[in-house]
């Protein structure tokens, strides 16, 4: 026998560790605002025992789960409640995704097409009649504004303006930029390149990058998600083993998806890349902590910001890196907001049927932002950014952009030659 008798309980997602203490139910943002969702305990470990007996016990209400994983963070027993729910959806969900869900989920495809016609796309999706059609026909809520598409993709910019000079650095990283940087907000990618270059690191694109697949998973397009995941794992693996370049990112959600969901939900082997895949703030913090790089900040930088810990950031347990990094900025007054879900959860909040739930979930955070009244809200998640900007009117930045703004890049570069 492989295991000695009853030394430990080993079960998928630690589902047997559950003591039914119900603590997870206190921290579920969904059941807090809607009675339609049976709550993480019932949807997760309770339901799982019945689904193991007979799949017919699957409850379609599980689709209301945001996949925020706050149940997992709260669980004192290490049960991967959220993973149990996601996997149940994957295994048992009755019908295929709707057109709307496919559209929302296909960030790569829609992004590529939209970039080609960015001004028109931005203009069109902003039009009232178009919004009305999207609302009623497609079920994309009319209150939502699609993030604007950039006219030049990040990748295009990088190849034209940055790629060439990366070779001159002694040390190198690969950058998984994600769809948001590529199609909607290339500036964050540019900031990342600027900061890493200043630290003495060359930045490179992966051989081939696909959307991490978070939206595909959320919308039930598991086959597509798995194919894209495999491409990403291969590219990252090449970067890590062939090029000896760790992979960094600027999106907490992409990072979380690739580090954890690939393995836990899609069942893929990420062992070769997982430890080498990191959020840029974590990577940079560790470089500083180990004395490998030094930072020089602008002396005139004075801002008041509030840091919002995104759900997946909370789940990864990595907020500490972004916060500690931001705290190094001398002119920055940083409030750390209580971590709570903003309600958008990727594509969830875009769906007409979820709009009210989404905003109700986020109301606590919006109130906290208003109370702190910072100039800027800082977060590592791009969909939180959309939601907070739409719901509070505050400007939202990624910590790397804050760093790019606060650093004296030339002086920093000189320190790290």
């Amino acid at each position: 026998m492989a295991e000695r008798t009853q030394l430990t309980s080993i079960s998928e997602d630690n589902f047997e560790q559950c003591l039914k203490c119900s603590i997870c139910t206190v921290y579920c943002p969904v059941s807090a605002v809607t009675t339609a969702y049976p709550g993480p305990k019932q949807a997760g470990p309770d339901g799982e025992r019945y689904r193991l007996k007979d799949p017919h016990y699957y409850d379609e209400a599980l689709k209301l789960c945001l996949n925020c994983k706050r149940c997992e963070v709260a669980c004192p027993s290490g049960v991967r409640v959220g993973d149990i729910i996601q996997k149940a959806r994957m295994k048992h969900q009755g019908h295929g995704p709707k057109l709307r869900d496919m559209m929302l989920a296909s960030t790569d495809l829609v992004g590529s097409m939209a970039t080609l016609v960015a001004p028109i796309a931005n203009f069109t999706v902003g039009l009232k009649p178009v919004k009305a059609v999207m609302h009623s026909v497609l079920g994309i809520d009319k209150h939502r504004t699609f993030p604007a598409y950039a006219s030049t993709k990040f990748e295009t910019w990088f190849r034209r303006h940055a790629q060439q000079e990366q070779g001159r650095f002694m040390r190198h990283v690969s950058y998984f930029h994600g769809c948001y940087v590529n199609y909607n907000y290339p500036q964050l990618g540019k900031d990342l390149v600027a900061v890493m270059n200043a630290l003495g690191y060359g930045v490179h694109l992966l051989d081939k990058e696909k959307c991490c697949g978070v939206a595909l998973i959320a919308n039930g397009m598991y086959g597509q998600a798995r194919r894209q995941a495999q491409t990403n794992i291969e590219s990252m693996s090449t970067s890590v083993t062939r090029d000896r370049r760790p992979v960094i990112t600027t999106s907490s959600t992409c990072t979380f998806t690739m580090r954890d969901e690939y393995e836990h939900v899609l069942g893929l082997d990420t062992a070769g890349v997982r430890d080498s895949l990191s959020l840029a703030t974590r990577y940079i913090f560790n470089l500083i902590d180990e004395g490998k790089v030094r930072l020089a900040f602008r002396s005139d930088y004075k801002r008041h910001m509030a840091y919002h810990t995104a759900c997946h950031m909370q789940r990864m347990g990595w907020a500490i890196y972004s916060i500690e990094l931001l705290r190094l900025i001398p002119g920055l007054q940083l409030d750390v907001l209580e971590s709570q879900c903003c309600g958008i959860a990727g594509t969830y909040g875009f769906k007409r049927e979820n709009y009210e739930t989404s905003q109700a979930i986020g109301s606590g955070l919006f109130a906290a932002v208003e109370q702190a009244d910072p100039e800027v809200v800082v977060t590592d998640c791009e969909t939180c950014k959309w939601q907070i900007e739409m719901s509070t009117g505050k400007r939202v930045m990624n910590p790397i952009s804050v760093l790019a703004e606060a650093l004296d890049l030339e002086a920093t570069a000189a320190l790290n030659k």
Partner: protein, 541 residues
């Protein structure tokens, strides 16, 4: 009907024992038009019926050693699939051969199955691993047989309900403390009502002893002798289903060689040890039994080594000494139906014993035939063709998105229609692990002889899930107190319930099971002070 009215009737037959056999006998007698009273000293299924594997044997286990039992099993197996659809899950079973076993036994086994009429299909080990991924991957042989799992609680209660639908009466917590004997004829029973402490005489033409292991004591009350050999069997329940099919060892029956998927859990068993008859009321599982069960269980499905155990329990098989052996040492095989008029010159008294939970219906049929012969009734047995309540063919399957409703339909079959969950308050789940709603509890209390939380557990699975009653026991106790108006009793039942759960947890209290126990103690004793509430009651007495 209130108890007083029940006591004052004159019955054709009084059946003693609320296990599957007694309940089945009550049903059969009632269906043949007899006026029946079923009495049980505790709760239904409290004896061997409620303390076994929950295995609907195909008979394969007995094929080599006892062809007659095997044939009975397969015949009853097929009948129960039809008449007790809502109590049976058609899982099929595997008989596996491990490297340490003799593969030669497999052909003996398959031939014997064939003789008994049991479909036995030899599988390639690869195929067996595919069908049942939890099975020990080292198997060198596998045979597929029509084993299934059965819920003995549901099965028994469905028989009681049907008996009542056919005019029978039933009393739980009524213990037979004496027989009314008049000139070599049993004319009734003396009943002690545990609820009131009163003793009552109830009269009948025939009294059926279907008291299982307690039948020996009962016979003694009638002045006749039946020698029983109590054989203790210990089992372990795991927290969730590891296997989809029943897994057996393909060898001569031995300890811990059957793993059964039962409802939301799976059960490994059993051990087999002779125990003194005076210990049968308080069976405790020993550390040695736990060790045997784990050691052998892991060989069937290695995952058991790392699966959380919910509880341990033990039952007593009512094995009977053969009448034809003057030493009293050899055991009767199969069903034992004794006409004490012929055997001992005591009229109006018959005993039905031996057999298996699995063959309860056949046992009931045999003894009812005997009772009918005595009473000159010629009606034929219809129990093999008439579905039990809950298992009637349904016009359209109920489709519902609600978990609690689905779980209730799973438990009560078509009877779930009677569970009135019209209001939100009634749909609320008392037990979240097992999906038991307020409405289901109300239904069970009203229709299924529920006097305490322990009874309720057997009817509805309240408190049978992972946490063994963390919140639900209190919720259910409070609800019962509200319905009965007797709060001290509800609190006492809560205490009893937790103690009964702990009895099952204690032998396997390590790992998550110990964590769970500590949390339960922290809630009920630390936070709530239940121990103090119960002491308060004792102080008053």
């Amino acid at each position: 009907m209130v108890n007083e009215e029940i006591y004052n009737q004159r019955y054709d037959v009084i059946v003693i024992g609320g296990g599957a056999t007694g309940a089945g006998t009550a049903r059969d007698c009632a269906m043949r038009g007899l006026k029946v009273l079923l009495v049980e000293r505790e709760d239904f299924t409290n004896g061997a019926t409620g303390r076994n594997h929950g295995l609907l044997h195909s008979g394969a286990r007995y094929a080599v050693t006892d062809g007659e039992s095997a044939a009975e099993c397969i015949s009853e197996n097929m009948i129960l699939r039809k008449i007790a659809r809502h109590c049976v899950e058609e899982t099929d079973g595997l008989f596996i051969t491990l490297p340490e076993d003799d593969l030669g036994y497999q052909s003996t086994f398959v031939e014997a199955c064939g003789r008994a009429g049991i479909r036995a299909e030899v599988l390639d080990p690869e195929e067996a691993r595919r069908l049942e991924p939890s099975v020990n991957p080292e198997i060198i042989g596998a045979v597929r047989v029509p084993d299934a799992s059965v819920d003995p609680f549901r099965l028994t209660v469905a028989n009681v309900i049907d008996a009542k639908l056919h005019g029978a009466q039933a009393l739980t917590y009524h213990e037979v403390v004496g027989l009314v004997v008049n000139q070599n004829r049993v004319e009734g029973v003396k009943l002690l009502d545990h609820g009131t402490g009163r003793t009552i005489e109830v009269h009948a033409e025939v009294v059926v002893n279907a008291a299982g292991i307690w039948g020996q004591r009962l016979a003694k009350l009638a002045g006749v002798t039946i020698n029983m050999f109590p054989a203790k069997g210990a089992l372990l329940i795991f927290g969730h289903r590891v296997n989809k099919m029943v897994i057996n060892r393909c060898r001569k029956p031995a300890n811990a060689d059957i793993l059964v998927p039962d409802d939301t859990v799976c059960v490994i068993g059993t051990t087999s040890d002779r125990v003194p008859i005076d210990t049968v009321d308080d069976m405790r599982v020993t550390d040695e039994e736990v060790e045997v069960l784990l050691r052998e269980g892991e060989k069937l499905a290695p995952a058991l080594a790392t699966t959380r155990i919910l509880r341990a329990y033990a039952g007593v098989r009512p094995l009977v000494a053969a009448d034809d052996d003057p030493t009293g040492r050899s055991i009767s095989r199969g069903i034992v139906c004794l006409d004490h008029e012929k055997r001992d010159g005591l009229a109006g008294f018959v005993t039905i014993t031996g057999g298996k939970m699995m063959t309860y219906r056949l046992m009931a049929e045999e003894v009812t035939d005997l009772v009918c012969a005595k009473l000159g009734v010629t009606a034929e047995c219809r129990t093999a063709i008439t579905p039990l309540p809950g298992s009637e063919p349904e016009a359209a399957a109920e489709t519902t998105p609600r978990f609690g409703r689905k779980a209730a339909v799973g438990r009560h079959g078509t009877m779930a229609h009677q569970i009135m969950a019209d209001t939100m308050a009634d749909r609320a789940l008392v037990c979240e692990c097992e999906g038991v709603s307020v409405a289901e509890i109300k239904y069970a209390i009203e229709h299924q002889h529920v006097n305490s939380l322990l009874n309720l557990r057997r009817r509805t699975r309240v408190g049978m899930g992972t946490c063994q009653g963390k919140l639900c026991a209190c919720r259910a106790a409070s609800l019962m107190g509200r319905l009965s108006g007797n709060v001290p009793q509800a609190e006492a039942h809560l205490g009893e319930f937790l103690d009964e759960r702990w009895k099952g947890v204690k032998p396997i209290a390590w790992g998550n099971t110990l964590r769970e126990a500590q949390l339960t103690a922290t809630i009920y004793q630390g936070l709530c002070g239940l121990d103090k509430a119960l002491a308060r009651k004792e102080d008053k007495q």
